[in-house]
């Protein structure tokens, strides 16, 4: 130790500047040294892996290139953007990516709604609702999502009635083991009708708005029946309008029709897509419910009390005071759930939905180019994850509390 350094105070003080000590004991030097060593170790490991990989590829008679992306894929894909087996592998991969985005986007939206409802229900004053929601969360959170997907597909979707005996709601929705078919509205060129429709909607909207305001301001007394009368009148007017519109409809309904083996027309969700969507939504919804519950509970008791003391109703307390604050607690874990949903969509492979991973896997099997294909798959998921995180972080910044 540096006891020698201790001379007399004067001698010590008169030394203009003490040496900073040998470099191997110097904080800064050590820091730099350690980092250099660390980086070298990482680079070395990566290099060794790379060399090994080249050797391994050589042994398997494979090369590293992505030229195959321009080759003809040759295999069929059941759903997604326009594609034929004569298209390239690249096109097939894009199709998979679009399918993944489609199911993830829709799934995220639906899971959010389900999770919000279930989360709030778990805090409901209604005992039965609380228990049911709790049961839902427990069951679906505690079983593997893969198992759930298989269940939704094999035990639910495939046991729907066959095409010719579809479950249906009028001509609008058909549920069969070939999937779900929805009627689709098509715009026609009849602009006059459009004008009438928009104008009518605007009129009705104003009327309803005015009436509700009236209702708000004078909730008691005989006036409260006025909106009902108004609504009745409005409905009658709407019916008349509708009859007139039907003569020159601005929208036609494209109804799914049975043609040959299958339905044609309308919006079609294949059983694979529907099962995947259902499975992901129900699974993730259970997690989001917990996130929402935790978020709501994280809002201080004082907030609820203050809001109640102001006379806000239970719904208003939730909607105006609790949820907006819960949001900032909710968003980070919610983001992870969104990412999880998107990533879990890769399990589509188990039930045959042609998502990014499934198509990629087929490509890999057909071309044997495992490393480039894997690189592509992982990069795509990574890009998706990063993009989602980015969006959510931006949103998070917006809902963050302003503090001193």
């Amino acid at each position: 130790m540096e006891r020698e350094l201790r001379g007399s105070g004067a001698a010590l003080a008169s030394r203009s500047r003490a040496a900073p000590g040998p470099w191997w004991r110097n904080e800064r030097a050590l820091r730099v040294l350690f980092q250099v060593l660390f980086l070298a170790a990482v680079a070395l490991a990566a290099g060794a892996l790379y060399a090994n990989m080249l050797r391994g590829l050589d042994r398997l008679g494979l090369t590293l290139n992505v030229g195959f992306l321009d080759q003809e894929a040759g295999f069929g894909i059941s759903e997604g953007i326009a594609y034929a087996p004569s298209d390239t592998y690249g096109r097939a991969f894009v199709l998979g990516a679009v399918n993944t985005l489609r199911v993830s986007g829709l799934g995220i939206a639906m899971a959010t709604v389900l999770g919000l409802v279930a989360g709030v229900a778990r805090l409901s004053g209604n005992w039965l609702v609380r228990q049911l929601s709790g049961l839902y969360v427990e069951v679906f959170r505690n079983t593997p999502v893969l198992l759930q997907l298989l269940f939704w597909y094999a035990a639910v979707m495939l046991s729907m009635p066959p095409v010719r005996r579809s479950l249906h709601l009028g001509d609008l929705i058909f549920i069969t083991q070939r999937g779900v078919y929805l009627a689709r509205a098509h715009a026609t060129g009849s602009s006059l009708s459009w004008l009438a429709l928009v104008g009518g909607a605007a009129l009705m909207g104003t009327a309803v708005g005015g009436l509700t305001r009236m209702l708000r301001e004078e909730p008691r007394g005989p006036w409260r029946y006025l909106p009902w009368m108004g609504a009745l009148l409005g409905a009658a007017a709407g019916w008349a309008l509708a009859r007139w519109l039907l003569a020159a409809p601005p929208l036609v309904l494209e109804v799914p029709r049975l043609q040959g083996f299958n339905f044609r027309g309308g919006i079609h969700g294949s059983p694979e897509f529907t099962a995947l969507l259902l499975g992901l939504v129900v699974y993730t919804g259970a997690f989001i419910a917990e996130v929402v519950r935790a978020g709501v509970l994280a809002v201080g008791k004082g907030q609820r009390e203050a809001a109640e003391a102001l006379g806000l109703s239970r719904f208003q307390v939730m909607r105006v005071v609790i949820l907006p604050q819960a949001l900032r607690v909710i968003i980070p874990p919610l983001t992870s759930q969104y990412l999880n949903l998107a990533k879990n969509s890769s399990l589509a492979i188990a039930i045959g939905f042609p998502d990014l991973f499934n198509v990629g896997n087929t490509m890999l099997n057909q071309t044997g180019q495992s490393i480039p294909v894997f690189g592509l798959i992982m990069a795509s998921y990574l890009a998706m994850s990063l993009f989602t995180s980015l969006l959510m972080n931006l949103y998070n910044r917006r809902v963050k509390l302003v503090e001193r």
Partner: protein, 262 residues
């Protein structure tokens, strides 16, 4: 005791003759098996200022929170401004519209601006139009001395400012009664005065006020009457002078000696 005589008694005590605005009759409350309020009976006349004090845990907060049903009482009657507090949601709503409350920890809504905090009640409960509510809100902010802070968020204000916003928020509902639960005890000493000033001013407008506080200067100056709580009961009840000069109970004396010594 018959409620009407109780009311008259209270009225007489406060030097007024109308019916009481708050009537409590043998109010009991338990938290689980813990008996917090053990038969509290009192009346408050319209316009009266009542200060409530007592040792920690004696049930002061619980008492004033039962008055607007933030806590439910289990026995006895509470009538506020002619409306009886029962399980009926309508009554609870009506009473809450009549009673403003200010908490120790302010409990402002941190995600709303100051002005939004103040206009929230009028807009959502009274269904006032926004402009109308905002005009009122600005007036109130003026009254509590922070008109320039309208568009800041609570997190950007000092404690004293926050508490003044809380008072403005409660006033925005134009309540007939204001409840204060230790409104200054979470504040730094410099800020206590600014809040007490606002309360003092409010008292002069003739508002009925129930204030839980240990600020004995304020009590002496503003209160018409002081209630001393201990272990869930009103142990002593008197006008300020009499209360401070001649406390009758041992517990009151002990408490006062501690408080005033501080």
């Amino acid at each position: 005791m018959n409620p009407s005589t109780a009311a008259q008694a209270a009225g007489a005590r406060a030097g007024k003759t109308e019916e009481p605005i708050i009537l409590c009759q043998d109010v009991h409350k338990w938290f689980g098996s813990f008996h917090v309020l053990k038969g509290v009976s009192t009346t408050v006349a319209r316009g009266e200022k009542v200060v409530i004090c007592g040792p920690s845990g004696s049930g002061k907060s619980t008492f004033i929170r039962t008055l607007n049903r933030l806590e439910e009482h289990q026995r006895g009657r509470i009538v506020v401004d002619g409306i009886e507090l029962t399980g009926d949601l309508k009554n609870v709503e009506a009473i809450r519209r009549d009673v403003g409350m200010v908490f120790q920890e302010f409990n402002l809504f941190p995600h709303l601006t100051v002005l939004q905090n103040v206009t929230l009640g009028p807009a959502w409960v009274k269904r006032q139009r926004r402009e109308e509510a905002e005009v009122l809100g600005r007036e109130l902010l003026e009254r509590v001395g922070i008109p320039e802070q309208a568009h800041k968020y609570p997190g950007q204000l000092s404690g004293g400012q926050q508490q003044r916003v809380a008072i403005a928020r409660a006033l925005a509902m134009q309540p007939r009664i204001m409840l204060f639960d230790e409104p200054t005890s979470a504040l730094d000493p410099e800020m206590i005065k600014e809040v007490l000033d606002v309360m003092r001013e409010l008292a002069h407008t003739g508002m009925t006020m129930l204030v839980v506080t240990h600020e004995m200067g304020f009590a002496r100056e503003v209160a018409d009457r002081i209630l001393f709580f201990d272990q869930g009961e009103i142990v002593e009840e008197n006008e300020p002078e009499a209360f401070f000069e001649g406390p009758r109970h041992e517990r009151t004396k002990l408490f006062l000696s501690q408080i005033l010594h501080h």
